[in-house]
């Protein structure tokens, strides 16, 4: 009985209990893993092929000729065959297909074929791509056996890193996962522990308040990091998510995750303090998470937002987490290279914890 009380032991016991509890809570698993993974799957499969232009072949068109053969080998072109005239007309009007081609054997020997192409005003951008693809193709076909008289193009491509959709989407989804775990998880746990007098029972033991906060925080960080590793691994092995320096990049991303999560947990403490009942937690938490979800470059680069919206985007902490994550993962930046982003997150952290200390309630 005279042995001094061990605060570390109490903190770790709490962390262990909380971690077990989180792992068994369906909502935590859904928000941290399932949602981000669904988005990653959707965008991972969507983002593979780049631009495709649909080109219909008119019924009755000759199919055994060099033009069609060349078109079939062109990656950008997706040939649509076996459609009736009316179907093609309808789809052209809607812009579902960019054009229709009709190749016929010529009645005179030169040129051997005539290709009639019809574009649609409903899909001008794809039509222009189609136009230049066709011009290029015809030029190649027609000049195959000739020596150029003016100049010859010698083409080559620099082999850089392929920036895939996953490289943009995954860091955003990771940020979103941390945001929802931090805000929703923390808010619900502390609210319900307070409401069901679990915390009061804790206070009847020698445990310190700091141990309760720390234990909960450790459990949540542990859980979120597991989630982050899982998301990164799925992205890397199934969708070729770029990790420039391999494991070092992953570790850097995890450090960023911890910083982000601690900041977001601050929001969670505030929400648990100001919520009057369990049912007011989701709306308040959504006010915090949704704008960041949409405006922080989770799905679209904020450079594409209207100019008046960009300053709002650039004020949100998730913007900087996403930005730092992308630089670390794709550009191979070290943590020191993203110090500005980290600094802004820390400023958010200080502000939000100052508020949390004011509004947080134990009883």
């Amino acid at each position: 009985m005279n042995k001094p009380y061990n605060h570390t032991k109490a903190t770790l016991a709490l962390a262990k209990a909380s971690f077990r509890s989180i792992m068994r809570s369906p909502s935590a698993v859904v928000f941290t893993l399932a949602f981000p993974l669904i988005f990653i799957l959707v965008f991972g499969f969507l983002g593979g092929g780049g631009i495709k232009v649909d080109l219909a072949i008119a019924p009755g068109s000759d199919l055994q000729n060099p033009v069609i053969k060349a078109l079939e080998e062109t990656a950008v072109i997706n040939l649509v065959k076996n459609k009736s005239k009316t179907e093609i007309a309808q789809q052209l009007e809607k812009g579902n297909i960019a054009g229709v081609i009709d190749v016929r054997k010529n009645t005179v020997p030169q040129p051997a074929y005539l290709a009639n192409v019809q574009y649609t005003s409903a899909s001008m951008d794809k039509g222009n791509i189609l136009k230049s693809v066709l011009n290029n193709l015809m030029f190649m076909l027609n000049t195959r056996d000739l020596k150029p008289s003016v100049a010859e193009i010698r083409e080559s491509t620099v082999h850089g890193r392929t920036y895939r959709t996953i490289d943009f989407i995954l860091p955003g989804q990771l940020g979103f996962s941390l945001l929802s775990t931090g805000v929703f998880g923390t808010a619900f746990v502390f609210f319900s522990l307070r409401q069901t007098l679990v915390i009061k029972r804790f206070f009847a033991t020698p445990v310190k308040r700091a141990s309760i906060i720390l234990g909960e925080g450790l459990a949540r960080i542990g859980f979120a990091l597991l989630g982050a590793v899982f998301i990164i691994m799925i992205g890397h092995f199934f969708f070729h998510f770029t990790l420039i320096h391999g494991i070092v990049t992953v570790l850097n991303m995890l450090v960023l995750s911890i910083i982000g999560l601690i900041v977001f947990m601050g929001f969670g403490f505030v929400v648990s303090g100001i919520a009057k009942s369990e049912s007011t937690i989701p709306p308040i938490a959504n006010i915090i998470t949704l704008p960041q979800f949409l405006l922080s470059g989770t799905f679209f680069s904020i450079d594409h937002f209207p100019v008046w919206l960009q300053p709002i985007s650039r004020a949100l902490p998730l913007t900087y987490l996403n930005d730092a994550m992308r630089q670390v993962a794709f550009e191979g930046a070290g943590l020191w290279d993203v110090k500005l982003q980290i600094l802004i997150m820390l400023i958010w952290g200080i502000a939000i914890y100052a508020l949390a200390v004011k509004v947080f309630k134990w009883e």
């Binding site: 068994r24 206070f203 009847a204």
Partner: protein
């Protein structure tokens, strides 16, 4: 009970809330190894008094010494030697009883075997169950098990038998008597006078924040009789609860 050591001494305890005074200068002692009952209607100040002794609530004024420690300066020492069962406490969600025991062992900083603790309150079969899935009597027994983890000198039980059926209630009485036999002092609140009469060595009646009587149940009954009190209905040698227990059997069931 001889006049042995007071393990808890409360002097002139006052608790003011914003708009009313819950406790108005209470003074009493709890002796070592007795079962002490705090009785009184709802809102009389029983729970407030308990929670101030348990160091869960600030007092307005007065002095409280628990086993030589003052609630003002040594709250943490007091917490280490007491066990507290709250009236409506919940337990950490999604954990089973063994895991909850491990958590509390960590919070008290003691090494215990969770299964042994559960056996003490006859819950070893429920080791893998969640607290929420327990019956009322099982919940109370589990709560009491958590109060015993740190081998406390004193345990506080706030209405442990409210809402239980007669079998579960009797079962809990046996448990409480057992705990006292092992040398622990028990402070209990209850609304059931038969329970207080059966269990408590001494009881204090609390009314509107004041103690209006404090003695052994026997003495209090004798005092009332000596003032000429008579029951309107002659008491038989058994009551309806005896009938109930006799008809439905003594072993408690979990429903």
């Amino acid at each position: 009970m001889d006049r042995n050591n007071a393990i808890i001494s409360v002097r002139n305890l006052v608790k003011n809330y914003a708009d009313f005074t819950a406790v108005k200068g209470l003074s009493f002692d709890v002796y070592e190894n007795e079962i002490f009952g705090l009785l009184g209607p709802n809102g009389a100040g029983k729970t407030t008094t308990l929670e101030i002794i348990e160091t869960l609530r600030e007092k307005t004024s007065g002095e409280i010494i628990v086993d030589g420690f003052s609630v003002d300066h040594d709250a943490n020492e007091i917490k280490r030697i007491i066990g507290v069962q709250l009236q409506a406490a919940g337990y950490y969600p999604n954990l089973n009883l063994v895991e909850l025991m491990e958590l509390f062992a960590g919070l008290y900083g003691v090494n215990i075997k969770p299964m042994e603790m559960l056996e003490k309150v006859n819950l070893q079969d429920k080791a893998k169950a969640k607290y929420k899935a327990l019956s009322g009597g099982q919940k109370q027994r589990f709560s009491i098990a958590t109060t015993l983890l740190n081998s406390p000198k004193i345990i506080f039980l706030d209405e442990p038998t409210t809402g239980l059926d007669p079998q579960a209630r009797r079962n809990l009485w046996d448990l409480i008597t057992e705990i006292r036999k092992n040398g622990t002092t028990v402070v209990i609140t209850t609304h059931y006078m038969d329970e207080a009469e059966q269990l408590c060595d001494r009881v204090a009646f609390v009314e509107r924040g004041e103690i209006i009587a404090l003695d052994t149940p026997d003495n209090l009954i004798d005092q009332l009789l000596s003032r000429g009190f008579e029951r309107t209905k002659e008491v038989k040698k058994a009551n309806l609860e005896d009938v109930f227990i006799n008809l439905t059997g003594k072993e408690w069931r979990e429903g």
